[in-house]
């Protein structure tokens, strides 16, 4: 044992087999391989999605391995087909997009409307039950959605709200408000208190201070939070499935794609065009705001 250790230290010093050099070399080779592999695995499905959306079903079946599409084979009819309203023989994605947009934008607007004052209160004001409120929000954050889905399903069936976008928006707001408050209050906490005190001395009351001082300073946080809520609402599936499935006119894009992908009548390539339509807005938003968003995603997680 000791002999081996001594031997190892001597070889390291003498520079014969050098563990350090070996490891450095190994990682120098492994690192680019790992990066390329990860990149391929992350991006390839999306490339494949776009690729298939430009092909016809016939060419896909004839040559499933092709990873590019030649110009003369390029087929744009998939997009026209998937977007066109059902009455014109299409799949009606244009209506789904409208629904998704309505739901997502209303969720963003309503959530910010309730979360801005809420987060300000939680971060700044000492009111009765503040700790309990924070605890409640934390619990909401981790609750199994499927447990919530059962009573909501019963309730919406009872009052006949199934198929209504309004009901869906209320559920979404209740789900994201807690997360929103958690993110936003961290930003409010970074706004120097002295600024608010100065405003108070200048004669602003509490709401004016919030409106004129804290809010503009928290603007980047608000924007990233809004984008984040938009993405959640746009991507959401379970509640949309439970509440909207019976009424095709109120399907969201997510729901529409999942429902149609079950049927054999709609060609896969047409649905791939639908997937692109569903994914593209999110990817554009993501890359446009990546810096903001990544900051927002990790904000508050930094204590660890």
């Amino acid at each position: 044992m000791t002999a081996a250790t001594v031997e190892r230290t001597t070889t390291r010093k003498s520079g014969g087999f050098n563990r350090d050099r070996f490891e450095n070399g190994l990682f120098r080779i492994l690192r680019p391989i790992v990066i390329v592999l990860l990149l391929l695995v992350s991006i390839f499905p999306f490339y494949y999605m776009v690729l298939l959306s430009f092909r016809t079903l016939g060419s896909l079946l004839a040559d499933p391995g092709a990873l590019w599409v030649s110009i003369d084979e390029l087929d744009l009819s998939t997009y026209l087909d998937v977007l066109a309203p059902v009455s014109d023989g299409g799949q009606g994605f244009i209506v789904f997009m409208r629904n998704s947009l309505i739901v997502a934008l209303s969720t963003v607007a309503l959530t910010l409307l309730v979360a801005i004052p809420g987060s300000y209160a939680v971060s700044r004001l000492n009111f009765f039950g503040r700790r309990q409120v924070s605890g409640l929000f934390l619990a909401v954050y981790f609750f199994p959605a499927i447990l919530l889905a059962v009573p909501l399903f019963v309730f919406f069936t009872q009052v006949g709200l199934r198929g209504s976008l309004v009901g869906l928006v209320i559920v979404y707001v209740s789900q994201v408000a807690a997360v929103s408050i958690y993110t936003l209050r961290n930003y409010f906490a970074t706004v120097p208190v002295s600024l608010e005190e100065a405003a108070a001395i200048d004669g602003c009351n509490r709401l004016q201070t919030m409106w004129k001082i804290s809010l503009p300073l928290a603007m980047p946080a608000l924007v990233s939070n809004g984008l984040f809520i938009f993405m959640i609402a746009w991507n959401e599936f379970l509640f949309a499935l439970l509440f909207l499935v019976e009424k095709r006119d109120s399907w969201t894009v997510s729901l529409g794609l999942s429902q149609l992908s079950g049927s054999i009548e709609v060609p896969t390539t047409v649905l791939m065009a639908g997937s692109v339509i569903l994914t593209l807005p999110i990817i554009i938003l993501f890359f446009a705001s990546e810096r903001l968003l990544v900051g927002g995603l990790t904000a508050g997680a930094e204590k660890g």
Binding site: V114, F137, F142, L147, K303
Partner: protein, 346 residues
């Protein structure tokens, strides 16, 4: 927010440990003010309650009351057909729980859920860690690569599951084309609809639960960016000096990782484990969309959904969901007890 953020997985910052600090940040105003005039503190109390009340009302109406109701439903004999007259009060009975806990399907689903969450969480964090380490040193285009690695996480779950089920399709999926023409598979593999796949490894016949493995790998693919993001942020906060000092002392890269980085990353990994486990445990979307719960991939969340919609047995659905939530709570508590203490000692 579980399914919305956890499921579609664009979850915000885990609101975990920052609690105390923030409370303090706000509180240091409060005592000063309280000392002076209590009228001010009363005004503060009123404004605070006023500002928080819209959120509280929405959460009470759409989350708290429904959950209480779910508990009430679990103890009643409710079916979709007699749903109209159902309320909080009814004939309470334990039938649902007896039915659920004694049916073999539930225990099977529970086991699948646990396997799925443990493997999915471990893989996601493992891959995320490798990615974070590989992209630690800056180089040209690193920002773009980092952003691209987040794509699986931000993309809508319905689109991601759809493109993967097409990729894995036995007839025209690219993966099966690649397997049969390049890798020399004898037959295409029905990744998502085949319960087990006999594989010959060094002469040993092993039945791989192929559909379950596929959904676990999908889960890893979809959520590794989340771990990657947090570990990258944590790595950036590790002081450069430590690494430098260890290097001068002759520590090799793997030694530097185990003795310098790993202890610093451990708390983040612990938090990630809890978060990912909770979300994977509750996950409905991915499995429902990929396999519909067939071929040995039925997790409890999917089973609840089937009871509720296909069978119309609301009471049993609520009971299963309740058991799911309770088990999750127990597991998370045990974990926090075990590892929370260990960390404090370290």
């Amino acid at each position: 927010m579980t399914q919305l953020a956890g499921g579609s997985d664009l979850s915000g910052p885990p609101p975990i440990p920052s609690d105390e600090e923030d409370v303090r940040a706000g509180e240091h105003l409060a005592p000063a003010r309280r000392r002076g005039k209590s009228r001010h503190s009363r005004e503060e109390n009123r404004t605070g309650l006023f500002l928080i009340s819209p959120t509280l009302i929405i959460i009470t109406v759409a989350v708290v009351i429904p959950i209480l109701w779910a508990v009430a439903l679990a103890f009643q004999n409710v079916r979709l057909i007699n749903i109209r007259g159902t309320g909080f009060i009814g004939e309470y009975t334990l039938d649902n729980f007896i039915e659920v806990l004694t049916s073999p399907g539930f225990l099977q689903a529970l086991w699948t859920t646990i396997v799925y969450s443990v493997c999915g969480t471990a893989l996601a964090i493992g891959i995320g860690l490798i990615a974070a380490l590989a992209l630690r040193k800056p180089f040209r285009g690193r920002g773009l690569i980092r952003a691209s690695l987040l794509l699986p996480y931000v993309a809508p779950v319905v689109a991601a599951t759809f493109v993967w089920s097409t990729l894995l399709n036995p007839q025209y999926g690219w993966v099966n084309w690649f397997g049969t023409t390049v890798l020399g598979w004898e037959d295409p593999v029905a990744f998502l609809s085949q319960r087990s796949l006999p594989v010959d490894i060094f002469g040993l016949q092993i039945d791989l639960p192929i559909a379950l493995i596929t959904v676990i790998l999908f889960e890893a693919w979809r959520s590794f960016p989340f771990a990657f993001l947090f570990l990258t942020a944590r790595l950036q906060a590790v002081p450069e000096v430590l690494d430098e000092a260890a290097r001068i002392d002759g520590a090799t890269p793997s030694q530097r990782f185990w003795h310098i980085l790993w202890p610093q990353l451990l708390p983040t990994i612990a938090v990630l484990t809890v978060l990912r486990f909770i979300w994977t445990f509750n996950n409905f979307d991915d499995i429902y969309l990929l396999t519909g719960g067939g071929a040995g991939t039925e997790v409890v969340a999917v089973r609840v959904f089937d009871y509720m919609t296909a069978r119309g047995d609301i009471g049993a659905a609520a009971a299963q969901a309740l058991v799911l939530a309770a088990i999750l709570a127990v597991l998370v508590t045990v974990y926090l007890r075990l590892f929370g203490r260990e960390e404090e000692q370290a």
